[in-house]
Amino acid sequence: MKTLRALFRDRRFAIGAIVMLVLLVLALLSFRSPYDPTVWRLVPLDQPPSREHLLGTSSLGQDVFWVLTFAIRNSLVLALFSASISRIIALFVGLVAGYSGGIADRILMFITDGFIVLPLLLILVLLAMILQEHLNLVTMALLFGVMGWALDARFLRSQILSLREREFTYTAILSGNPTLKLIFNEYLLFVVPLTMATLIGNMMWVTGMEVTLAYLGLTDVTIPTLGTMLHFALNYQAVLLGIWWWIFTPIAAAVALFVALYLLSISISEYLDPRARIQRVGAR
């Protein structure tokens, strides 16, 4: 509770949390949707926003507002699921490399550096091109999860490296604690909050990649996500035809999601790094 109050004192966190809450409410609304998002031609085409259709209707004959609720839900689920997978890999690699050091550290960091340097976007595009029809939410989450862990593994390793030199480590080792117990009981307390901060950053990356791949038409377009919404609006020339409510809705939702996640992530990581916190307050 105290942590939350301290976080809310940061205006950026408050704004981010409120926007996120609105998006979550929208996502939950999808459970009460009167329309099936995968069926076309349920409502009159290309209607501007009205009381009946809050955000108008699309050229596919779908109610833009209710499709949006599904899109936000799917995009959030995908981001959370995929980011969790890559967090597990990053945490494992970071802990093992940081704690054991030596040859294991070298090998793991070698692989990590390799992943950092590779042009992941193009590799994902190449893989998505072959997977295409099979690229639903689950396979996409796995694919992004396997690809997006490297930078954070390096970050977590550096944190473990500094923890290993602290006194409580020696106290624990000298009092005869087994390694696993030390890691789980002592280190995880420090590392889990940091992992949460990287989780939000990674969710942004996943959402960005999903929208990019969908934008290129490489994912299963029957699943409503922010990316596929944008894909259809662009493919049906919503801009040229002046159906602005169709194209602006996914853009606005994506911008809101990105800004919210970003504000949350910077304010949480600043909160976790006391040096940055002191600098913000201005005290020395």
Binding site: L118, L122, R284
Partner: protein, 335 residues
């Protein structure tokens, strides 16, 4: 030489290994799928063969089978792939058969290169300057507003910014063309009209890249400058009544630039993937748009060529930056 043994050789080994690892990955993973990429292309050409000249399709399929040794094992295919790679040959395009992939890439490369070079340099200058000012003069209201704007721009994905720019400056206020690299039909050459035409087309893609790149650089630079401002030598200079201008340029900025130069290569990598997306949105005739057309027509060979080249380009630029670093920052000694 201590430096060569302790640093250079391990670093070179890592460079080669990472490049090989990346290329091996993109070679094998697609082939582990139930339907291999070349088989998929073959099937597609065969399906198309019923519409077009069946003889030509048959020819393509046979050439592909022979080239990739589809009847032979995966390992033989892998060796053959490397052999062709070393001669700089990515094979023919599957769709525009038999145009070599090299030629297609060669035609698009200058566009991407020009766009990237200009934006990377401008991002570096603009981002560091505004970031440095914002970090140093933290009381200024104007710079605080700039910080807030940057905070909203920075997390946005490239295509969102690109789309917003298109909608704003090509549809609502049609100042700039919607897309393309030059007016179709107009002769390309070193005439005044031709150059301004190319620049006009490049403006919006470049702007979207610069906005995002500069926003990120701005934020990092602001943090670094805030850190440098707390250093003892800056405080000492201030107590010694060195004028604020000299402090800013000679004491703060010069020291804050060093880590930014290190980030230059990374920023280039980030801009590279950004440029690919931006080119697609603007239909700009560079590598990204070539990749996009390859995706639309499932031209695996073209995409494979582009990906392989990008892996080599990125690992090499990181290596060069790592090796050049001590030239800029005497504190880093590569041992």
């Amino acid at each position: 030489m201590r430096f060569v043994r302790r640093y250079l050789i391990p670093r070179l080994i890592q460079y080669v290994a990472v490049t090989v690892l990346g290329i091996t990955m993109i070679f094998f993973i697609p082939r582990l799928m139930p339907v291999g990429p070349v088989e998929k292309a073959v099937a597609q050409i065969q399906a198309r063969g019923t519409y077009s000249d069946p003889k030509a399709a048959e020819e393509t399929v046979r050439a592909l089978r022979e080239m990739y040794g589809l009847d032979k094992g995966l390992f033989t295919q892998y060796v053959a792939f490397w052999r062709r790679l070393f001669t700089g040959d990515f094979g023919p395009s599957l769709v525009a058969f038999p145009t070599p992939v090299n030629q297609l890439i060669g035609e698009s490369l200058p566009w991407t290169f020009g766009l990237l070079l200009t934006t990377t340099v401008l991002v570096f200058i603009i981002g560091n300057l505004t970031g440095g000012l914002a970090g140093h003069f933290r009381q200024s209201k104007v710079l605080q507003v700039l910080d807030a704007v940057v905070m909203i721009i920075a997390p946005m994905p490239y295509y969102i910014v690109a789309l917003i720019l298109i909608i704003a400056f090509a549809y609502i206020m049609p100042i700039f063309p919607v897309g393309g690299g030059y007016t179709i039909g107009a002769p390309l050459g070193f005439t005044w009209a031709s150059i301004t035409d190319v620049l006009r087309h490049a403006f919006l893609p470049a702007l979207s890249l610069i906005l995002l790149g500069a926003a990120t650089t701005h934020q990092i630079m602001r943090l670094i400058v805030q850190g440098v401002n707390e250093e003892d030598y800056v405080r000492y200079a201030r107590i010694g009544a060195v004028n604020e201008r000299t402090i800013f340029f000679k004491y703060v900025m010069r020291n804050a630039m060093l880590p930014q130069i290190t980030r230059f290569a990374l920023g280039f990598a980030g801009l590279f993937s950004g440029a690919l997306i931006t080119e697609v949105v603007f239909a700009y005739p560079g590598i990204g748009f070539l990749a996009y057309r390859a995706i639309l027509s499932s031209d695996y060979n073209v995409l494979m060529g582009i990906t392989t080249l990008s892996i080599i380009a990125l690992t090499t630029s990181t290596l060069l930056m790592d090796l050049l670093n001590p030239l800029f920052d005497p504190r880093i000694r590569l041992t």
